[in-house]
């Protein structure tokens, strides 16, 4: 019996030493948490984000990983539900101990999980365009912000179509703050807001809204509609023959409405996007080809899918510059000189050290009568300057706050 025990122990010891040896050879993986809405109202725009991350991870792993370590994805479906974000963010940071989290579509969900990232002092990438203003050292934002989307889009629209503007926007933090941006930029350019209406999420019937717009006689309509229910607006406005040009920071580039609705309901919609699959550069077309090779059924590759894809490469660059460390301080230190860039399918993206937001190439996408896309204008390397201008400097201090045009340190 005693002998048996001894031999078992020696076998165990051998096993352990073999396992230990194997461990040392295979570097420990870098854990990448992914919290995105793969079901519910937002799934349409966000499943592509998960696929973008999967594509980047498979490419990076095939080429040897990040600083020799493979990436392991820990993916949760947040079901378009803010409380799920909080639950899964805790689980990802506390139990799964991920090194970095890529999370969030709606601004409501981002604000729901952000305090948890702060609490555990984690690092989260928000790879979505949004209303701007998040000044938080634990967050890196690769999506486009209003100074990139609106200060390009609105002057163009006012010059082309006229100064009278009507906004319809989703009624939550994204829509309200974006509408404030629109109001300010329209006023700065000598235009006039002839109307503004906020639509609760989930509303799908727009007869009265359409009539209110016709009554106000705007030159163009700014549509900041979010979620699949609200996008019914286009079909209904088209059927009522509203026939007004539209401008948007979220539609087309996010929910590919021009592919989903019958032409010409989106005729003369203009959107400022940092990426859509129609962009005709060799880099973009190569990206589309790789994407479709891995996900042949992908209905559309939107700007958030590209942001998510680029974010993996940006993170890789950060960790490699930090000599393989995934500690928050080491990783953030690599941003300080402002040279952390990646040649994304859209063009070069660089992270601004003050705000930890990305610079973008902004394309003006114009939906034509047959719902094809043309790009009448393109702006290179538009910086996310607004946060820096109002006094957010994450290299100095971390307020972990979200600022708006009417509420920030400069006023």
């Amino acid at each position: 019996m005693k002998k048996n025990l001894k031999s078992t122990a020696s076998v165990l010891a051998t096993l352990l030493s073999v396992a230990g040896g194997a461990m040392a050879q295979d570097a420990e993986p870098i854990k990448l948490g992914v919290l995105e809405d793969q079901s519910g109202d937002f799934a349409l725009a966000t499943i592509g984000k998960v696929h973008g991350i999967e594509l980047a991870v498979s490419e990076i792993n095939a080429a040897g990983g990040i600083a020799g370590r493979p990436i392991e994805m820990v993916t949760y479906d947040t079901q378009s539900d803010n409380t799920r974000y909080q639950e899964f963010m805790r689980r990802a940071l506390q139990r799964d101990k991920v090194d970095v989290v890529f999370a969030g579509f709606s601004s409501a969900s981002r604000e729901a999980y952000r305090p948890i990232v702060n609490q555990f002092d984690g690092l989260a990438f928000y790879n979505n365009q949004y209303e701007g203003g998040v000044c938080d050292a634990n967050m890196i934002v690769t999506g486009a912000v209003p100074e990139q989307q609106f200060s390009t889009l609105l002057p163009y629209m006012m010059e082309t179509y006229g100064p009278n503007v009507y906004t319809i926007a989703a009624d939550y933090n994204f829509g309200q703050i974006s509408a404030e941006w629109v109001r300010n930029i329209v006023a700065e350019n000598g235009g006039e807001m002839v109307g503004e209406e906020f639509i609760p999420l989930g509303v799908s019937q727009f007869s009265q809204t359409i009539q209110n717009i016709q009554a106000a006689k705007p030159d163009f309509v700014v549509t900041l509609l979010v979620g699949t229910a609200q996008s019914s607006y286009y079909e209904q406005a088209g059927a009522a023959n509203v026939d007004l040009p539209m401008a948007s920071s979220v539609n087309v580039g996010q929910g590919y409405e021009h592919k989903r609705f019958t032409a010409p309901s989106l005729k003369d919609m203009y959107a400022t996007v940092n990426y859509v699959e129609e962009i005709d550069t060799p880099e973009s077309q190569a990206f589309v080809e790789r994407f479709r090779a891995m996900f042949p059924d992908e209905p559309y590759i939107n700007q958030e899918a590209e942001n998510s894809y680029a974010a993996v490469y940006l993170y890789k660059e950060m960790v490699e510059r930090a000599d393989g460390s995934t500690e928050l301080e080491d990783v953030r230190a690599t941003l300080a000189d402002g040279t952390l860039c990646y040649d994304a399918p859209e063009g070069e993206m660089c992270i601004d050290p003050k705000s930890q937001h990305a610079s973008h190439t902004i394309y003006l996408a114009h939906v034509t009568e047959d719902h094809s896309i043309e790009f009448p204008k393109k702006w290179d390397a538009i910086q996310p300057y607004w946060l820096g201008d109002i006094g957010c400097d994450l290299t100095q201090e971390d307020p972990s706050a979200q600022y708006t045009p009417s509420s920030n340190p400069s006023n």
Binding site: Q236, D243, T262, P299
Partner: protein, 290 residues
């Protein structure tokens, strides 16, 4: 003339709100109002109608045929659900909440997995017309007509046909109906199927005007439940007047203060009605008549 235009525009908006309330609520009025089954899968029958009718329309068949096919498909799905899940639960109305909620989630997620995040729409037919300063969608006038036609057809069916009388008898006093030789199981099944088919009809009718996604049924749920709760158990004395009242409140507030006010106004109206008339409008009318 300006005044007439304004009146037309108000009538159009009221009619539009009325049609949406009636068409979303009719199926639920049969299943929840009459049969007492709290059907949280109502939106998924609407989804079924919308997806089937759009697929049929994509095959090149005319829209009315496509809508009929969607309605029929939802009706058949309803009868299957009744047979498999609902039948043992008629005496346990609270349990139907959980069962139908489960069905709703399975269908929504199943559709997402099998058919993907979205389906291309068929486009709103019939174009638009102009009255005064505003242009209107012609198809939405058809929807108003369909709402009225649906109410009329249901009234005829439940008062003038043998099936209607048997259905009402079975639901009011099932054991007496059974003693008199009525096949109550069949009647329950057909009535549930009728409710589901009406939901499918709403889906088919609204499909050309909406985003087709697995969660689209949710857009109808609040309006449907609110109308049935305000209306009470009787479809004609309940659903129709409830839709008139709520449509009026919603159209007025939305044109005055926007969508949010319309939603709030409608829900406040419901709270007031439930407080004053616990059995809904039809409960009040029927009580006074008795």
């Amino acid at each position: 003339m300006e005044f007439l235009y304004a009146i037309f525009s108000f009538l159009y908006q009221f009619g539009d709100a009325f049609a949406f309330l009636v068409l979303s609520a009719c199926g639920l009025a049969v299943i929840f109002g009459m049969m007492g089954v709290i059907n949280l899968a109502h939106g998924e029958f609407i989804l079924c109608g919308a997806y089937v009718s759009t697929s049929v329309a994509h095959m090149g068949l005319p829209l009315p045929v496509a809508i009929a096919a969607g309605s029929l498909a939802a009706g058949i799905a309803g009868m299957i659900v009744e047979l498999v899940v609902i039948r043992p639960l008629y005496k346990r109305p609270l349990d139907t909440i959980v069962a139908t909620w489960g069905i709703s989630m399975i269908v929504t997620q199943g559709t997402l997995i099998v058919l993907g995040t979205t389906m291309a729409g068929s486009g709103t037919p019939l174009g638009s017309f102009v009255v005064g300063d505003y242009s209107y969608s012609t198809y939405r006038v058809v929807l108003m007509g369909m709402a009225l036609a649906t109410l009329a057809a249901l009234w005829l069916m439940f008062t003038k046909t043998r099936f209607g009388i048997l259905a009402r008898a079975t639901i009011q006093v099932p054991h007496v109906a059974e003693a008199l030789g009525v096949n109550t199981n069949l009647v329950y099944s057909l009535t549930f199927g009728l409710g589901a088919a009406l939901a499918g009809l709403a889906g088919g009718l609204y499909a050309p005007t909406m985003t087709l996604v697995p969660t689209m049924g949710a857009a109808f749920m609040v309006e449907a439940f609110v109308t049935v709760v305000v209306g009470g158990a009787d479809i004609f004395l309940g659903t129709a007047p409830a839709a008139v009242v709520l449509g009026l409140i919603k159209a007025t507030l939305t044109s005055w203060q926007g969508q949010l006010a319309g939603q709030i106004g409608m829900l406040i109206a419901v709270i007031i009605v439930i407080r004053i008339l616990p059995r809904g409008i039809s409960g009040k009318i029927l009580k006074e008549r008795a």
